[in-house]
Symmetry: C2
Subunit: 345 residues, 2 copies
C-alpha cells in the first residue's frame, strides 16, 4: 500500500504546515537547493528569469532563512550585543539607547541581544564571552575608559564594535560621543552670564574618559569667562543620590559656597537641587544650575534649572549604524560621530 520510506529523495514534497526552507522552494520551482540559495543572494551565475521566479515563490510562501542554519555554516550570527551594566543608576540612561539601536536594527536582519554584567564582576567578562562563544557579530559598550581593556581586546581580535564614549590609546575605532567639553564650557558661560562666579561641578567618575573632557571644558570656561571653581570632589555621578545630596548640602552651608552649579547628569541634578534646598537656598535666586538632561522630569519640576540635552536615542542610532557599517568592512575612521548639547526649550 505505502511507498518506500527508507530515505526521503530530494523530490519529496515538504509538508505544508512547516516552516518553508530552501528545500520547499526548490521543490516548488523544480530547481536545486543550491540554485535557490544562490538565486536569493542574487549571485551572478543564476539567470535573471530564474532569480525572479525564485524570489516570487519565496515571498509567496513567506520564506525566512533559518538563522541557526546560516549561523552554523557561515558563523554569521546576525546579532548585535549591547553590553549593559545592571546597576540601576545607569540603566535609566541606557534605556533610550536601546530604543535608538532597535530603530536601526528593525530595518535589518540583526537582532539585539542584551548582555549584562554587574558592577561586582569584571567588565571584561561579557566581552570575552561574546568573543569566545561568537555570540554576536558586533558589540556596543558604554562607560568607556581612556585605557579601556575591552577596546584593547576587541581591537586585538579585530572584532567589530562601537563605543559610547571615546578612548585614548591611539586605537582608531567607531564611537559616538557627546561633546562633554563643550557642555561644561557652555555651562560655565551661561552661569557667568547670570552673574555667577563661584562654580561647582558634579563630575563623572574619574575612571571614565568623559570625566577629563568635562573637566577640561569646565576649566577652560572658568578661565575664559572669569569664574572660579569650588571644589566638589568627595562625590561623583556614580555615588548614590543620597550621598550627592548630603555632600551638596554641606558645601552649600560652608563658607565660600558656590553660586553656580553644574551637573553632569539629570539624576545628579535632582540630588543637587535637593541639597541646595536643604541648605535653605533657592534656585535662580541664590544659586543657578546647569544640568545635562535626557528626559523631561527635571524641566517640569524645576524649570529654573537650565538644561542642556544629551540625546541618548540618537546615540543608539549612531552606534547601531556604526557597528553595522564596521561589520560590513567600512573603515573605523569614518564611523566616529559627536553630538552637541542642545538648550532645552
Amino acid at each position: 500500500m505505502d511507498e518506500k520510506h527508507k530515505s526521503r529523495p530530494a523530490s519529496v514534497p515538504p509538508s505544508p504546515n512547516e516552516r518553508p526552507t530552501l528545500k520547499t522552494i526548490a521543490f516548488m520551482t523544480g530547481l536545486g537547493i543550491t540554485t535557490v540559495s544562490r538565486a536569493l543572494k542574487d549571485a551572478p551565475d543564476i539567470g535573471a528569469e530564474t532569480k525572479e521566479r525564485v524570489r516570487l515563490v519565496a515571498a509567496q510562501v513567506g520564506y525566512h532563512p533559518n538563522r541557526a542554519g546560516v549561523r552554523l555554516r557561515t558563523g554569521k550570527t546576525n546579532v548585535i550585543s549591547l553590553i549593559l551594566s545592571l546597576e540601576e543608576e545607569f540603566i535609566g540612561l541606557t534605556s533610550p539607547m536601546v530604543v535608538g539601536i532597535s530603530e536601526i536594527l528593525a530595518a535589518t536582519q540583526y537582532h539585539l541581544v542584551i548582555t549584562p554584567y554587574s558592577a561586582r564582576s569584571d567588565p571584561l567578562d561579557p566581552v570575552r564571552y561574546v568573543l569566545d562563544t561568537g555570540a554576536a557579530d558586533g558589540v556596543i559598550i558604554s562607560r568607556t575608559e581612556p585605557k579601556d581593556p575591552r577596546v584593547a581586546l576587541m581591537m586585538e581580535r579585530n572584532f567589530p564594535f562601537g563605543t559610547h564614549g571615546r578612548t585614548e590609546m591611539g586605537h582608531v575605532h567607531p564611537f559616538h560621543d557627546f561633546d562633554n567639553e563643550r557642555f561644561a564650557y557652555d555651562a560655565v558661560r551661561m552661569l557667568v552670564e547670570r552673574g555667577r562666579r563661584r562654580v561647582m561641578l558634579l563630575h563623572p567618575p574619574p575612571s571614565l574618559t568623559y570625566h577629563m573632557h568635562m573637566r577640561t571644558g569646565f576649566e577652560r570656561g572658568l578661565r575664559d569667562f572669569g569664574a572660579t571653581s569650588v571644589p566638589f570632589n568627595t562625590v561623583d555621578l556614580d555615588n548614590s543620590l543620597a550621598d550627592i545630596r548630603a555632600a551638596c548640602e554641606a558645601v552649600m552651608r560652608a563658607p565660600g559656597a558656590p553660586d553656580g552649579v553644574i551637573s553632569g547628569s539629570g539624576g545628579g541634578a535632582v540630588a543637587l537641587v535637593a541639597g541646595i534646598e536643604a541648605a535653605g537656598l533657592k534656585l535662580a535666586r541664590d544659586v543657578d544650575m546647569v544640568s545635562k538632561q535626557s528626559n523631561d522630569f527635571l524641566q517640569w519640576l524645576r524649570p529654573e534649572v537650565i538644561t542642556l540635552r544629551e540625546d541618548f536615542r540618537l546615540a543608539g542610532r549612531e552606534l547601531a549604524k556604526a557597528v553595522i557599517a564596521r561589520i560590513e568592512g567600512q573603515p573605523s575612521a569614518e564611523l566616529q560621530t559627536l553630538s552637541f548639547p542642545v538648550l532645552q526649550n
Copy 2:
C-alpha cells in the same frame, strides 16, 4: 613531506586555537563524539567514571555547546524575547524590567533578545514573527489587554509566554501583575485620611486590562471612604505630558476642582504637579496627591506627593522565572504572581 590531506579522519587533532567542540573533547578523551555528548548530558547509559572524565576535560578546555548547532538540531533557541514598544513614554517603565529579566537569565543558558515594535504597527506582528521564525523559546509581553490577541495566538500555538498584566479571556497563562485595584483603593483612603473628599484619577488607557482594575479600586475606595469623583476623562497615561498638564490645569481652575489627585504613574504625576501649580495651587496645602512611582525623582523634588512604589525590576524577575518554568513544562496556574503597592519611605 606532508601527510595525506584528502579527508580528515575522525582522529585528526582539532587545531588548538579554535573553539573547542565535542570533537575536541572526543579526541582528547579518546571517546566517540556521541559518548561525549551524552556524558555531558548525564545520560544513564554512560559510565560514571567516563562522565567525570569528560566533564573534567570539558571544563578544562572551556567547552560551551555551539548554540547554532543545538538550535539547528533540536529547535531549542535558548532565547527569551522581550517584546517592547519603542514609544518613549513606555520605555522608562520597561527598562528596570530588563534589569530584572537579565538578573534571572544570567544564571541560565538563556539570552535576552529585544523584539521591538512601534505604535504605528500591529502589536501582533512581533509575536507572529517569533512564532513563525521560531526566534525564541519564550516571550514576555507588556501592555496587556482584556481580550489580548497576542495571548490568544500564543495560547493557540501552545507557545510559552508570560504577560506583565492580566487578561480576561478565561485562558490560564503565566503573568505577573501589580495590584492596581489595591493601589487605587489605598490611594483614596490616604487622601480621605488627609481630609480630601473630591478626588480625581489619571487613569491608564481604557484598552489595557489594568485600567479596569484601577477604576474598580478607585470606585470602591470612593464608596468605602466616602469621597466623590471629579471626572478626568479627556486624557490618560498614554497622552503626552504636555496634554496631561494642560488638562489638569483646566480642571484645577474649573469650579468644583478636586482636592485630591491620584496618578497611575510617576511620569503622569510630574505633569499633574505642573498642572496643579500652573493653576496657582499648592501641593499638600490645596491639593494632596498619591502617585504610583518606580524611580526616586518625584520623591526628591516633590516630597509632598505620597508615593506608592511599583517594582518593575521585581516584575522582570518574576516574569523571567515564570517563562522559564513554563518552557520546562510547569503548569501555568502555578506561575501567576501579584505584587503590592509599597509606601515609599
